[in-house]
């Protein structure tokens, strides 16, 4: 379980960003979490509360948007969002591809505060 390490990195990044933007209190954090990020959502949520203790983020809500896998199919020359992460292949022509455009991110993209 590396979600606690990830949670500490997330909190550190959020605190730095909040300070840079002169936020006194953070109410919510929005995180993009790819299905191929290697991070378990529930474990991260659990770790988040521990990692925020004693910081200006303490008590903030963690909102996780799960990002499905988006691939590029070299045969159709099109992008597709996959309903399930595996198999990693084109839903139209079934060709396998290693061109993954989205779905690996662990990205903090929004802070809500005042």
């Amino acid at each position: 379980m590396h979600e606690l390490s990830i949670a500490y990195s997330l909190v550190q990044l959020a605190v730095e960003t909040a300070e840079q933007n002169h936020l006194k209190k953070v109410e919510a954090l929005r995180l993009k979490l790819g299905v191929f990020s290697g991070v378990v959502k529930e474990a991260l949520e659990f770790s988040f509360d521990i990692a925020t203790e004693g910081t200006i983020i303490e008590g903030a809500r963690l909102i996780i948007d799960e990002i499905p896998l988006k691939i590029y199919c070299p045969q159709c020359e099109k992008e597709y969002v996959l309903k399930k992460p595996v198999p990693v292949k084109c839903p139209k022509c079934s060709i396998g591809t290693d061109q993954i455009l989205e779905g690996k991110e662990i990205e903090l993209y929004e802070l809500v505060g005042g």
Partner: protein, 230 residues
């Protein structure tokens, strides 16, 4: 007391949570590139044969090249002692409770090393098929190991690590029949998350496939740095 008169403010950011690790990994990769050190990060579950394979490869490669290894474990220096038998430079990273290696640990471990003297650096990650997938260590090649004794469908259970790896190695191939291992289902299971992935079949005990993998590494090193004196 305080009434929320002000509207909550939204601050837009787009930052990778593992930014610090990624920046450090990029710096490491640049240093390795400049010093022409080819770096291989090996990941697998515990007991799939990383150390056995690596001992063999280190011993053979060190006849021609300067080779070193970093080995990550939660506790004990047993793996480092086993690897040292190969004659290569070996350093243990004991992570305590951390289930993966991070770029910072690599940087700390090679602090006093003269990278210029090195051709290959192998990093044996902590035995774990989940956590190491999120951490870039500045490597050229990420290798995921599976053993015949683990069953055919292991890759399917851990799609993220398979997808994050560049090549796969199937170890203990000499036990194929003994454990009734179905190679075809194994390959299907790999291709689910990484179509057409290159797979080497090896046995360190019976000397099968080791040289093929080594030749591949030497070739990849040459490709990575274009010029090299052999």
């Amino acid at each position: 007391m305080s009434q929320a008169i002000e509207q909550p403010r939204i601050v837009k950011i787009r930052e990778n949570v593992l930014k610090k690790n990624d920046i450090l990994a990029r710096e490491l990769r640049k240093r390795f590139q400049e010093q022409q050190v080819y770096v291989v990060n090996i990941v697998s579950s515990p007991g799939s044969g990383k150390t056995t394979l690596l001992t063999e490869v280190l011993a053979r490669l060190s006849q021609k090249f300067n080779v070193a290894a970093l080995v990550g474990d939660l506790a004990t220096e047993n793996d480092a002692h086993r690897l040292e038998q190969s004659g290569a430079k070996v350093k243990q990273i004991t992570t305590g409770t951390v289930c993966h290696l991070e770029a910072q640990m690599i940087e700390d471990s090679i602090k006093n090393w003269d990278l210029n003297q090195l051709d290959f650096l192998f990093i044996e990650n902590v035995g774990n098929l989940v956590c190491p997938s999120s951490y870039d260590l500045g490597e050229n090649l990420r290798v995921v190991l599976f053993s015949t004794t683990e069953g055919e469908d292991k890759p399917e259970k851990y799609p993220t690590i398979v997808n994050s790896a560049d090549i796969a190695i199937l170890t203990k191939i000499d036990l194929l029949e003994a454990v009734d291992f179905n190679k075809e289902s194994f390959y299907q299971s790999i291709y689910q998350s990484r179509p057409n992935m290159k797979v080497f079949e090896v046995s360190a005990k019976k000397d099968i496939g080791i040289n093929q993998w080594m030749d591949f590494l030497i070739e990849e090193k040459m490709k990575a740095f274009k010029k090299m004196e052999v």
